[in-house]
Assembly symmetry: C2
């Protein structure tokens, strides 16, 4: 959920100053159009961790906009007026009318997270409140509100650095309270709860947009661009007069630099064949031992492999199955759906392959096709793949709550390495069946796929089912990393 926000995104002051004038002018134009059209309201919800620059960013953004049409609210302790009415009353008071922009700090999303992180409510109570939030936001979206939910993120280290920095300067010292340091101690708990709530409240009509909060220039540009793109997208749809499509126009995070989850990886990791052979034997041995333990018979294991063509999924899977009893596993290769599968909801064909306890099912490609190939190739609408993130998270939640050990791998190769492997496949006789015209065609959309992969990891790498990105230009290294991850996850699962 927070993977992309921890990559150390930055924009330097000079670039920032170059970007701002045009961005500001564009935002004012868009705001003017929203105000003239009066067809929808814009609700900007600001949440996140302490010290992540929420206030500064919004101050900056509000300064760029026409203040007559922006309403900003921060909700602290309820007033007596508010206390004597239902909880949501204060938020209803603050809703922006059509044509205006409302910016709400500490809104309905913040309270439940804080309450759970400080153990004031139980998990089932939290989930009940999550249901209420979802119903409320669905209603707002259907009533025409454009909802932008920003989550400002800082890693634990970044938060500590930020607090220390503020405390050092006499002019900002007052901003770091004892309560902030208390909260810092609870950072991990807070993060877990936040991840849980973000997962369950990220819907097709109101998805969360996670902002890296450490760098002031980066976060401001990010938020500004995301708001601008969301306004423009919605204005375009309104211009088409397509009422039905409106709720499908989800705001998506704008790209404000070129740093992403994939291109920050060092894909060609060193590992010799000799070292590979030595480690492989050892890891396969421990993996085999673990899957033969009696506790393993009480849980199923599900392993997902995704990656570009020729990323090495097949070879890696063979190294896993090599350690397993053939009566115990099944490899499910996922290609285009059959007629029978097409006649069912898209998750149906994965549900039918859910393993029993004690079984291992390895998916060679998976339910993530919907947010990868189907998204990029336009096989489904934006509304369909946007809602798929939440549906997939729900599916995996059910698997994990049942006790499944779920491990997901994305094998990452570079464009150059893929090309090398394609050519090798064309010339090596027994590999020729593995390369088709479609593989070459897919290469042309390299960047689109990369964006889709980053979104996928950000939206579906959750506290219950994290993604493991595997640097796979060196196939030896990739296979060892996968096997080691599996062994660790198994050990961890069986000791808990």
């Amino acid at each position: 959920m927070f993977e992309s926000a921890e990559l150390g995104h930055t924009i330097d002051r000079k670039t920032y100053k170059e970007i701002v004038p045009a961005l500001r002018a564009d935002l004012l134009d868009a705001q003017y159009d929203v105000g003239q059209l009066k067809a929808f309201s814009v609700l900007i919800l600001i949440n996140g961790v302490e010290g992540s620059g929420r206030g500064e960013t919004v101050n900056e953004l509000a300064g760029w906009l026409d203040p007559r049409h922006v309403l900003t609210y921060a909700f602290g302790d309820p007033s007596d007026e508010e206390y004597e009415r239902p909880y949501m009353w204060r938020f209803w008071r603050a809703l922006p009318p059509k044509g205006k922009i409302g910016i709400l700090f500490h809104n309905w999303n913040g309270g439940p997270i804080q309450a759970r992180a400080t153990k004031q409510i139980k998990l089932s109570e939290l989930n009940q409140q999550v249901g209420e939030i979802n119903r409320f936001e669905a209603m707002l979206a259907r009533e025409g509100t454009l909802i932008l939910k920003f989550w400002f993120h800082l890693s634990k280290d970044e938060q500590a650095q930020r607090f220390k920095l503020l405390a050092k300067d006499p002019s900002t010292r007052w901003r770091v309270t004892k309560a902030d340091w208390e909260n810092h101690k609870r950072y991990d708990k807070f993060r877990d709860v936040a991840e849980h709530v973000l997962r369950l409240t990220s819907t097709a009509h109101a998805p969360w947009i996670v902002v890296a909060g450490a760098d002031p220039c980066y976060r401001t540009i990010s938020v500004g661009r995301t708001v601008l793109e969301a306004l423009r997208k919605r204005l375009d749809i309104e211009a088409l007069g397509a009422k039905q499509l409106v709720s499908a126009a989800a705001p998506l995070p704008a790209k404000s630099d070129t740093v992403n989850l994939i291109n920050t990886l060092k894909l060609d990791q060193a590992l010799t064949k000799k070292e590979f052979d030595r480690q492989l034997e050892k890891l396969q041995g421990s993996f085999a031992m673990l899957t033969r333990r009696p506790e393993f018979r009480e849980r199923p294991m599900i392993v997902v492999f995704e990656g570009r063509d020729a990323a090495g999924k097949g070879g890696t899977i063979r190294r896993i199955t090599g350690a397993l009893d053939a009566r115990q596993y099944r490899v499910v290769p996922i290609a285009a759906p059959t007629e029978e599968e097409k006649a069912q909801p898209y998750l149906w064909r994965f549900w039918r392959n859910v393993p029993r306890n004690g079984w291992v099912t390895i998916f060679d490609r998976s339910w993530y096709g919907r947010v990868l190939v189907e998204r990029v190739e336009g096989f489904c609408s934006e509304a369909d793949w946007m809602r798929a993130y939440a549906e997939i998270n729900d599916y995996e939640d059910q698997l994990v709550r049942h006790g499944s050990i779920l491990v997901k791998f994305w094998l990452v190769i570079s464009a150059e390495e893929q090309l090398r492997r394609f050519k090798e496949r064309e010339t090596t006789r027994f590999k020729r069946f593995k390369i088709t015209a479609e593989d070459w065609r897919n290469r042309e959309r390299w960047q689109d796929y990369e964006s889709a992969v980053c979104d996928m990891v950000d939206r579906t790498s959750t506290e219950i089912a994290p993604w493991t990105l595997v640097e796979a230009d060196n196939k030896y290294y990739a296979r060892i990393k996968v096997l080691r991850t599996l062994r660790d996850r198994l050990e961890q699962a069986m000791s808990s």
Copy 2:
């Protein structure tokens, strides 16, 4: 929720036999079209109280359809295969493919109700499961499934009669088990939980359809007609090719006789002016006393008046305010929304009028406009008023959880009495402002309004906020019934 189902609907055997041949032929035709089109699947969910004829009805219905394209499943205890997978796996296995009809007994809706009625789970756990059900059904609807959720209802007395009848006949005695009688003892608890779950899971894309289960002929015709109408409606929309509208095509209950909540009331109840004066003084006195008690200062009171033009809302409201301190109440008359209100979600103008503790707010017309005038006059789409039931229930749930005493009245007058009052208004000078051309026009849609009122009561008379229907042809009787209801509700609220 179950009001309409307790009116003693019946269809005699002879009429039944006249209806069936054509209905059956129409159903077969519709089923054939669904099968040929293969654009959507049909999911019929069967739930309800024991002894309400669920099995018999479905057997009958299945007999009318082409059995090659109907899949019926009943879910008892999970098999070992099912037990070793996530809870929902068994239901995924049973989903019908596009072009087919699936009938599912004891599905995902039944388990949570049973578990809560027998106190195996907490309320917050129940609500958490409700959220999961809603997400699952929303996904199915968006994937193209037509969902028909039937709830078979019997009153407590009807259930006892049914069990006794079965127990008397040696050939059916085996069908009433000890467990059934145990469940009968828990009837009230079960009904409360069912009402709660039905309220929270009745959505625009999958609303509950409550079926009166006591009369075999009536319930079979009802279900058959509802299925037929839902299939035809969806087929029509598919024929238009309007993909976006599909999820808006909610199945609605078919009318199978002329008995409804309104026309079974005796509208002209006797009460003399003299008796009225005597009782009014007494009731106003107790009401005034109750609202001056210190406990009252800790809760708000919200009174809703709905009813046709000239039903006597104004006069009744004056009799209430006559007993209140002017500093303590506010009457909010609801007409067409202002510009400011139109720029907000439709519930906004009611949220802004939520009273503080110790205050009484009386709404002369209310948020129910959406499912009455807006529905009947076509001011909003079917999808909009269908989702409004759930949104209104959510709103009232928040009011009541805050501690509000919420009382809702529908004043019922006959068409003849309305006509008499209209004419009186035209001739009485000080009443002439009260009658407009629109009032006369509304009379033309008398039946449409009556249907809308019955649906409104069925879908929004809940365990937390029941409707009181007031027979209002005699205005004295109506005013006394309203005041007595208010006094009773206040007394009850303050003693709890």
